[in-house]
Symmetry: C2
Subunit: 661 residues, 2 copies
């Protein structure tokens, strides 16, 4: 097989990251949708023009790419640069490049895929094993540390890259490398093989997807074996500081009631569980993950959609443990959350999963990269108490970006390449096909030509200024013969949405606005979502934000930044007057605030008696809030999403009451 033969796309819809064998909806193919300019279109272009190259350059510079050459040349040794999981960053970049080439067909992207594939392939052992950290001269042996060695995790990302290549371009050298690696994993860890599993889930979802893409049931079965093996103390819990729950080996995934431990691990595992449930029609397993999603979203998720409350283990906390200042909300956990919700949506058609995806896209995934696509947040806290002293050295590796400034690269650099592969496929999450029509889930200017099956096609153009504007116009360009269904998601926060179609205006409730009839070419369907800014109250059991409100507008969470406060006003002392509704101005939001209520009174003990009325000495002022995803774009700032409510602190206001959903 020559390279040119391999260049024929294997998926007529243009490829999709996730293609379950069964489910309520089928995902839209990447060939069925093209984003226009707008919020996500711009990010996708920045990803293509800056981030992909940025990632390759950093990995070249740090020697993570040369690690593959050293294996090929037989020059490995104890001085290998990078963590044991650095290979996975190369694979995630490869995956991003493959999707990007599928999206645009730009030859330089294809060249990059071939260049990296070549270097990776030369490092593969004869038996299919491929890892630059283990199993070669001067390196630890293969599979000697399943708990923290990340070998199968790396292999999983290699497989995902191959899936992207296969579905966009067709079988080639990368796919062949992945097939040999997958065979090696099955040979080694099969039902009769080593009874082990990887401390970091990833191989499971990857095996399912490669199995789907290649029609290799053995791979899918191996994923099922790994999944069922987990949760029985198979791994040595004493190898990690916080024991088995850290890597979800304490309770089988089908028995757990909530996500716990390391957030990315928990979410990758659950994504794989939905995949396995789909392939084996395992409804108990699907229901288990749905229950975990429900519990975790209700009690362990930040208002941004961010997951992870603890820095210590990059993990979930207990129910209601949602500190804004120490929120971890790792960028990768946001991506992993989207992965789980997307699979659950495809399996169930329940639009609440798409609601969470939207929230997470706008307030976690979009927050991580800088506008130029060359710096990233690793953690996405909801409160930065002290502004960082300055921007990080653009030429230096950051240990972790926990200081409120985006960094060009990290010591553990999982986020940049994860963001790259996600942005390259953002449009895959925009719509679903099935049940007689097209369902628009995420709003962006785009052209869509959906194959409804049976030779019927529905073509539309979507035009919108979303998320800053609430009008979404769908122009029918290519109606199918006869009746078809167009569904548009009405977000859960959109209480007064209006649908205009067929000359009528009607109010539509959160959920799905449905148009079920014959369509005419050129006709327009308009969804108007209410974009007034709103105060959002937390459940009273979330101790860390008691007495505070957040401000949201459309799908965006807003935040106060120190740079926007009047001179001399400290973010620690700001209160918000919730009796005055917030108003939008130029994409930002104005609230009536009170400053100075918390200024230092010079005491040496911060606990004492109740003050008399009038102690506050507060002055009224207006504050401007910015979309959270933009924070620190103007330089390091102190920042807070949750704003203390004035009526809790000042006696002459009416009392706030309990929150209700």
């Amino acid at each position: 097989m020559t390279d040119h033969e391999a260049a024929a796309p294997s998926d007529p819809t243009g490829g999709r990251p996730v293609v379950p064998s069964r489910g309520r909806l089928r995902p839209l193919g990447l060939g069925e949708i093209t984003l226009g300019p707008g919020f996500w279109g711009r990010r996708q272009e920045t990803n293509a023009s800056a981030t992909l190259r940025h990632c390759e350059e950093w990995m070249e510079r740090l020697g993570w790419l040369a690690n593959f050459d050293r294996v090929a040349e037989g020059t490995t040794g104890p001085d290998r640069p990078g963590w044991c999981f650095s290979d996975s960053e190369v694979y995630k970049l490869l995956e991003a490049l493959c999707w990007e080439y599928g999206r645009t067909g730009r030859p330089e992207v294809d060249e990059a895929v071939r260049r990296l594939t070549d270097r990776v392939g030369r490092a593969q052992d004869d038996d299919g094993y491929l890892n630059t950290c283990y199993g070669h001269a001067g390196r630890p042996p293969r599979y000697g540390d399943l708990e923290t060695g990340h070998e199968l995790y790396c292999t999983g990302h290699l497989l995902q890259a191959a899936v992207a290549r296969l579905r966009t371009t067709g079988p080639d050298a990368l796919v062949e490398i992945a097939r040999r690696a997958a065979d090696h994993v099955c040979d080694t860890f099969g039902a009769d093989g080593v009874q082990g599993l990887c401390g970091h889930p990833e191989i499971e979802a990857a095996l399912v997807e490669l199995g789907r893409a290649l029609g290799e049931e053995r791979y899918v079965e191996q994923a099922r074996i790994f999944l069922e093996r987990r949760g029985h103390g198979t791994l040595r819990g004493d190898r990690v500081p916080l024991g088995s729950p850290y890597f979800q080996d304490d309770v089988p995934v089908r028995s757990a009631h909530a996500w716990r431990g390391h957030a990315v691990r928990a979410l990758y595992l659950s994504a794989a569980a939905v995949d396995v449930a789909a392939e084996y029609d395992d409804r108990e397993l699907l229901a288990a993950v749905e229950g975990q999603w429900e519990h975790t979203v209700a009690r362990r998720t930040h208002v941004t959609g961010g997951m992870g409350s603890r820095h210590q283990d990059e993990g979930f906390g207990e129910d209601w443990e949602l500190p804004p200042d120490r929120a971890y909300c790792e960028s990768c956990a946001g991506i992993a959350s989207v992965m789980v919700s997307w699979r659950l949506y495809l399996a169930t058609g329940d639009v609440r999963y798409a609601d969470l995806i939207e929230r997470t896209f706008f307030n976690v995934v979009a927050a991580a990269p800088s506008a130029d696509g060359r710096a990233f947040f690793y953690a996405n806290p909801l409160h930065q108490r002290v502004a960082a002293a300055g921007a990080p050295d653009p030429g230096a590796v950051s240990p972790r970006a926990e200081s409120g400034v985006r960094a060009p690269w990290f010591d553990v650099s999982c986020c940049p390449t994860n963001i790259a592969r996600t942005l390259a496929t953002w449009h895959a999450y925009a719509a679903g096909v099935g049940e007689g029509g097209l369902t628009l889930l995420q709003y962006a200017t785009a052209r869509i030509t959906a194959d409804l099956g049976g030779g019927r096609v529905l073509g539309v153009e979507v035009e919108t200024g979303y998320p800053y504007d609430g009008l979404v116009t769908v122009r029918v360009t290519d109606p199918p013969p006869g009746v078809a269904v167009l569904r548009m998601r009405v977000p859960s926060w959109a209480g007064d949405a209006v649908l205009e179609e067929g000359g009528r205006h009607r109010r539509v409730e959160p959920g799905l606005a449905v148009v079920d009839r014959e369509f005419a070419a050129g006709e327009e369907i308009r969804l108007r979502l209410p974009m007034e800014p709103r105060f959002t109250w937390p459940d009273p059991r979330i101790d860390a934000v008691r007495g505070c409100v957040a401000v949201e507008r459309g799908p965006l969470v807003y935040c106060a930044e120190s740079v926007d406060l009047p001179t001399g006003v400290d973010l620690d002392g700001v209160l918000v007057d919730t009796s005055v509704p917030p108003v939008e101005r130029d994409g930002r939001v104005l609230v009536r605030g009170l400053a100075g209520a918390g200024t230092d009174r010079g005491g040496t003990w911060p606990y004492g008696g109740r003050a008399e009325a009038g102690d506050g000495g507060a002055i009224a002022a207006g504050f401007t809030l910015s979309p959270y995803h933009q924070w620190a774009e103007r330089g390091p700032t102190a920042m807070r999403v949750w704003l203390p409510v004035a009526s809790y602190h000042l006696p002459d206001s009416s009392c706030p009451t309990a929150f209700t959903t």
Copy 2:
């Protein structure tokens, strides 16, 4: 010198842990005070009868003691049990035993000292180096990892043990071992030696004290050198995950404005800084530590006196970062905080340091050990969301006690021996001598015979049911000729204290109640401290406890435990009605509460609009609170110190107002 010759006490006052060369007060000698039965007397007895033996047995069982034998026998190798700092636990136990023998003269305690001294001494190298982890066959070399190796830290604790022996019994083999070890440190790390320092401060304070006890100025000077060397990036910050601030090597101690990084490290370092300031009359250095104390106590200290807000690095957080659920408040940090405050008190005579000592003793140090002295908390959070599943296996080592149950021993087991040495010397902190008289700082039933100098003695008997009862009776048993001064600390929380003396009752303000006159044998002076339970409001900038109150009574912080709630009431949903004052009942406190306000309404998203009035559905109930130091004594419970205030959540109450000191 024979062992028997060595048994003569070298300090006529019976020894003291800290003896500065200059300062406003001199510490009371341990021979000048004997505790009677009561809160601390009982704990001191439990320490003597149970904890000391418990610690020795565990270290024998785990091989931490045998590590010394293996060095002596030349059988060291790669399989050494215990962390690199396990030697320090042996030394802290030795220190506790030395103080305990000084206190009671029980021969079996002296035997334990000699037994351990003998095993330790055999492991000392010819040049004075003594460490079982480094520098012998099959072990890493000496001083190859100053950042995390803890070698000088271990040596420091050896020196402290020798100080205890020297001041209670006199020079002996242990003192000789320590002298040789100290000489080795000075030879190696002196002004012209290796320009290094230890990643964990401890050697500094130890060198000062051994220098004081032996009159060796060289040791004091070495402490000063270590202190001044720190804060200039001398250690490799990249050897620890969070960099130089973790071990206070980012900013010199005399330039820092607050405590930061690892709490125990920061506090041990500052204790040494006060020691060095005292020896060199370095007022700038003293003022720096006073400023750090002030800033940290005002903004980074929990209401229990506990320090440390982060699990990730066992460290301080930013200003106002005081989460009750993730409060670390390590037991050792409580002890270290007492060490700093005690030195600052001796240097300045400022009674606010004794106030914090009291708070920390009752609500951190007393909370750590179980009533039987055989189990311990490592961390002392102020909120346990979920009760532990059960008590830990009494025969198993706990990784860290973070689950709300006291554990018999830890993997990192710094706390048990630290508590042992602190309880053995608790009475050393009870009073100070100087400026013409005796100052009573901590209240416990005790007999005191204070040497006022110039051949004058003041003898008193203190009788009290403190902290449960507010009456402290001081009976003069041995008045000095002429005028003398008796001072009694009036705690900062005691707004209505009354002093009865000489037939008069007078109100005394927080600070010091002073009686400055001639005393008669048999006369009684009575201090009546107000013991009504009280609500305590937090500074509004402490985000994590906004809208909550704590309940205190006397020096004790109280807490609600799930075991005391009516059946079916969830600790998550409890509110307190602050319009009804709390009342004492049998040493516990009753508050009027409301239950059910936060019960689950089944929503899947915990953020939303403001509820209408009347949504609470709360029912009134009374709740019993227990002293925080007793929590989980009746088995694992959910627990909280900070209780949400009903008027914040229910619209028909008056609004709470801002807090004032």
